[in-house]
């Protein structure tokens, strides 16, 4: 799934990480991975200890069971051995349970920590940065990336540590019976690793070749589902169906050819683990028949040879578990890169930043705003009306000169992009105003003409869908206005009458002028009729011209 999302994002995560591109051999861990590793460290230590304890107990169970069986067949059932085996089994299960839970808990801690980091980054980001983020990817990513990164930082990390410790433990157990057999296993390992390396590079080159050949076809299904209305509107359904079938097929066979090589990885481990059992069984058998006299394989008790035979597969088990984490690793790395690109890495300055610097002079001059009255910021589009308005509200800029807003109880924003909660119109108007009685809500809604809106029947009980998707821009502005009328805060309005039909625009203008009698109303607008109502006008065109003249 993650892969699909990433493919749809057109490989931005990897492309946005220059150090990785410059040095593919040793990618510098991004902020996400650093944070995740930091969060994982304390939990990992105890999880690793539990894993080691479980591996030892499992070896103990297998060894004791082998001893019990061996002695039993030799005619001597030892009940204390059985008891010991059962005890170690129970202990192993309990430690396993605790260990698994410790891993799950550590993963949760990492995922939650990452979410918290994202939250902090979002809280601190400027609106320009946030609006520049691909919203859908951000939302889909927050549901999936933290877990994927936690899988890498905890699951994969543990598996790779156990890759070093697990075989060592198994070999040590075998040494107790026959160091020659243990040596045989250890000698086998480098051969296996050579195979691993060979196949690993084959997988990588295969995957790259496939990416090159079929990368474009990776997310075709998702893309066509997304585009369904467009396809239907243009009568392209039959053609797209045929194309999709062919492309899915091509992509599937491409994937299959990579999988065929990738499964060799697990195949090698299976091969060595099966082979070791077969070879050991035959050698140990020959030793029992006294047909060979290799030290360490001959003159063993039955329980000893059973012990070696049963422990040998445990030597290979950590390799298999590590190979199974291959996916977790790939997904985790991709998710970490994506999170870095999305939120956590610092981004360069955006154009808005420059505009902010340009308006700094103006803002300084503007630092004295009146306590009441309508003030209009005017100027041609692109002259920085909205930027100045944001600046005066102290949004998202470190350069922000703090105007005398601190003396006021705060600001109510009024524009087409205000937040509207899901629920009823009454909820939307009352939002952020604390508890307030229905009469006040009715009064405010009536003042901005929301009660007799044919498109929003049922008055205060009119239903508003999630994200206010059933509201028009005019309705949103008026909801913002009604909200502002209830509160006694200053009103900052960004193009409140743009894109409204004349009747709506008139209502909004009148309400703003009315509100300005008791408080500061600051509007950024290109609506002449609104600017005419203002007691004071800041013309950015004039300001900019003067600045330009000064510079010349």
């Amino acid at each position: 799934m993650l892969k699909t999302i990433l493919n749809q994002r057109g490989k931005r995560p990897t492309g946005a990480n220059p150090p990785e591109a410059a040095n593919p051999g040793a990618p510098a861990p991004g902020k996400t991975l650093r944070v995740a590793r930091g969060l994982a460290t304390p939990g990992l230590r105890s999880a690793l200890a539990l894993q080691v304890a479980r591996a030892m107990l499992r070896l103990a169970f297998i060894g004791l069971a082998a001893m019990f069986v061996g002695r039993m067949i030799s005619g001597n059932a030892s009940w204390p051995l059985l008891g010991a085996a059962l005890t170690s089994l129970i202990l192993c299960s309990v430690v396993g349970l605790v260990g698994d839970r410790a891993i799950a808990k550590t993963k949760l801690k990492v995922a939650n920590g990452l979410l918290e980091a994202v939250r902090r980054a979002l809280a601190a980001a400027s609106p320009g940065d946030i609006q520049a983020m691909p919203l859908g990817t951000l939302i889909a990513g927050l549901q999936r990336y933290p877990q994927a990164v936690a899988g890498l930082a905890v699951g994969h990390c543990l598996a790779s540590m156990m890759l070093g410790l697990g075989p060592l433990l198994a070999a040590t157990a075998i040494v107790a019976v026959s160091w020659e057999a243990a040596l045989a296993l250890i000698v086998l390992t480098p051969v296996m690793i050579v195979f691993f390396v060979l196949i690993g590079s084959a997988i990588r080159s295969g995957a790259e070749a496939q990416e090159k050949a079929f990368g474009r076809l990776a997310a075709q299904f998702a893309d066509r589902i997304r585009s369904l209305p467009t396809i239907l509107g243009n009568h392209a359904l039959a053609r797209e169906e045929d194309k999709l079938a062919v492309r899915l097929d091509t992509y599937a066979s491409g994937t299959m050819s990579v999988l065929r090589i990738a499964f060799l990885n697990a195949g090698i481990i299976d091969f060595f683990s099966s082979l070791s059992i077969a070879i050991l069984a035959v050698f140990l058998g020959l030793g029992h028949l006294k047909l060979i006299s290799t030290p360490g394989f001959a003159d063993l008790q039955l329980w000893q040879s059973l012990f070696i035979l049963m422990i040998a597969p445990e030597y290979f088990a950590p390799f298999r578990r590590y190979a199974e984490q291959y996916h977790a690793k790939a997904e985790g790395l991709a998710a970490a890169a994506a999170l870095d690109a999305l939120v956590l890495d610092a981004r360069p300055g955006l154009p808005a930043f420059k505009a902010a610097i340009r308006t700094r002079d103006l803002a300084t001059k503007m630092a004295r705003l009146p306590q009441t009255g309508l003030v209009a910021i005017t100027g041609p589009s692109g002259s920085g009306k909205s930027t100045l308005l944001r600046h005066l509200a102290g949004i998202g800029s470190t350069l922000s000169v703090q105007p005398n807003l601190d003396a006021q109880p705060g600001v109510t924003w009024c524009s087409t992009d205000i937040y509207v909660p899901e629920g009823t119109l009454g909820d939307a108007i009352g939002w952020g105003n604390g508890p307030c009685c229905r009469t006040r809500l009715l009064l405010a809604a009536g003042n901005v003409g929301l009660l007799d809106d044919v498109l929003l029947p049922a008055g205060l009980d009119a239903l508003i869908k999630a994200g206010g998707e059933n509201l028009s821009g005019g309705q949103r502005v008026r909801i913002g206005l009604a909200r502002a009328l209830i509160s006694s805060r200053a009103i900052f309005a960004d193009e409140p009458t743009a894109k409204l039909d004349p009747a709506n625009a008139a209502i909004v203008r009148a309400a703003l002028a009315d509100a300005a009698r008791g408080r500061l109303v600051l509007v950024a607008t290109h609506d002449r009729s609104l600017a005419m109502l203002a007691g004071r006008t800041i013309d950015l065109d004039v300001g900019n011209r003067q600045a330009g003249e000064r510079a010349a």
């Binding site: 067949i73 349970l97 799950a104 933290p146 209305p229 058998g285 899901e422």
Partner: protein
Amino acid sequence: MNESASPKVTERARNRAPWRLALVMAFAALAGSILLTGASVWFLGAVALAGLTPAAMTFNFHIPAALIRLFALTRTAAKYGERVVGHRAALTDQVLRRSTLFATMAAAPAVRRAGWQLGNQDRLADYLDDVEDVDYARLRVGLPSVTLGVAIALLVVATSWLIPLAIVPILLLIAVNTVGARFLARRAKSDLAAIRESRQTASRLLGAAVQAVVPLQGERRWDPMLNEPFEGHANAQARALVLRHRQTLFDMLANCLAPCAMLSVLVCAWLSGLRGEALLVPALLAFSWLAVGESVLGASKIVVAFARETAARAALAKWTVNADGLSRDHFRKHISSLTLDGLPRHAPDGRLIGRPLSATFHASRTTVLHGASGCGKTSLLKQIAGWLDAGDECVLGDGIGLGADARRSMSCFCPHDATILADTVRENLFAPHASDDELWRALTTVELQDRIGAAGGLDGWITQDMLSLGEAQRLNLARAWLSDMPIVLLDEPTEHLAAEQGKRILDALLHRLRERIVILSSHDELTPKGSAAVRLQ
């Protein structure tokens, strides 16, 4: 969808073969590993007992040794084969399923209603998760559970035949595990539903907050607004941890099954008075149980994958309720007038608005729908396009009634949020029969020739991300330019375009479509030359 039923059946039949092969491979792999362990133990026991007597010299070890090697190779090869064949079968299934799913989704009414939800990246991601859960269900649930079930059943039979006494504890263990699995499946279902619910709520809240970031920051409410969505995510994580804890508990139970069965078999064999050589067969059986235990390791994953599959199927089925296909019965190449006779109008949310609309649109005269946003312009266009089922009997073409089906097959509808397909420019223009020359003329009309030339010409690959909103809109208009439908409906055609450019392109487009019935909607007072206007209240 009756006509497509028969090919689906044959596809099903064809695709059964790889699954059968995968099942055979899975059985071979499991049998290989059971026999490898069992036979090795039996062999060691036999030679150890023989080694104590003069029989050692005559013991034929060649056959058992060869068998052990055979089992080892079978196990390795069959496991590899199982993985490859199983994945191939799953991928073949996936291709078939997704092709069919795409066709079914296309017939879903939700596609034509207001706001295509799967156009949102996050909803799409959820949907794809569901599709994937169903795609791989056979590989993750069906195959392993069948193999495991059969292996356990065989071992139970063997045990009850050889050591009847041991069957009691084993059945008890199996019963406990079954109860555990059922409990986990039930809990997993509700846990997964709760996780999905709180994630979706969190996503919705976050989406709404991000869209209102400027006002929220201005009002100093941005930081507290982030609390709720992130708490939702944290709750989902906590619930996932609960599920994970249940999984570990079940895994513990399942992992004990095989070792306990093994010890029971051995102890019961001993208690039944079997000694020496007679213990070798029970030992083989006992270690076979242990070998099966290797395959039980991921038992909780199978149960959860099953729960996911069930939930995913239910979620996918919701999309295709009341699916209706498109028939091409009443297609007419040309009509000169389209009349609405008292068409009841609907708002985007399905509510009736205003008085029923009566109007006539002529082929030689473009009609512009005016009205404030939210007054149902898009909905009216969709009604005319036959996308919304309403007022079927009120629409007449050249005086003859036109049903929704007929209108759908006769109209080119350009939604204002039209998407760019990840494909070549040529495919994106949806005009398979047009010549290259014509395609370039269309691109030139919408002033995209340089942009497309730079992106690799008609066969250059483009995606949504590569084009700006304005460029995407212009490509969308090129599609309308190339369309040969008698009715062309344009929803906000100049959105995202600079006023001058929008006017230029629209005039050229309307000139090209002058013989056709063209209706366009516009919220700013757009009035192309020689057009009629209808104002919606």
